[in-house]
Symmetry: C2
Subunit: 160 residues, 2 copies
Amino acid sequence: MQPLEPQDMKQHEHWMRIAMEEAKKAEAIGEVPIGAIVVHGDDVIGRGYNLRETTLDSTAHAEMIAIRQASEALQAWRLLDCTLYVTLEPCPMCAGAIVQSRVPRVVYGTTDPKAGCAGTLMNLLQESRFNHRADVIDGILRDECAAMLTQFFRRLRKKE
Amino acid sequence: MQPLEPQDMKQHEHWMRIAMEEAKKAEAIGEVPIGAIVVHGDDVIGRGYNLRETTLDSTAHAEMIAIRQASEALQAWRLLDCTLYVTLEPCPMCAGAIVQSRVPRVVYGTTDPKAGCAGTLMNLLQESRFNHRADVIDGILRDECAAMLTQFFRRLRKKE
């Protein structure tokens, strides 16, 4: 990846802060703090935060919820000209959903060494045999996105 | 994989026919005919068929719908002791959802040379680095599951 221009970096950080706001909604209800938004032009057309425990639904990841909301907003399953921002690197399911919905660009905060499928364990977003590939930008507000998670798990261990 | 015992084969075929019934519901409304069920003991606790075009939702795959319904039935996101039957090999998103929901066994009908991620392009269901792996049985009613798809696309091309 080419280094980002300062104005691009500033814009990505702006949107990532909004994704972080979503993550904080998860944290507030005891869910692992992960948040995502889908941006189309200057509009946030999809928002989501991790709701797995609350909904007892393994598919209720931030990205899935944001993607479905964005499709509803655009009345289309193809999310053309959209960028998905997510605080944590997508898992295989969410990377697959990004491919399915043809999201052209994904920006994420911190890497996921256990399940990350956008460059860490593998890269499902840039797999030449699939019918869609996305541009990937990583490390936007990396430290802040990572700190939300480490602090959450630290508090959880203390409670236990 | 070891060859299946005749009584096991018969049971898998029984459930696969029910998954095929789901696929036919998709076909009846002009959707690509793919169907899935989640079986727990002797009960079908989740059913789904492809609804992408109808719902304008790229995540509305048969397996996703069946998994979410099964979680609701069990009131748990972990689908322990369940088997997922699906007429077509899972895509990366659905394979990821199977891993997320800890489904211990997946049985599928025909392979997907374009997006199959349960052994064809890759095998996300048996990836040692993920925190869950599933047993996979393929080729149950393979010809019938494949024929539904080829006939659907043949009719579609004729119409066009």
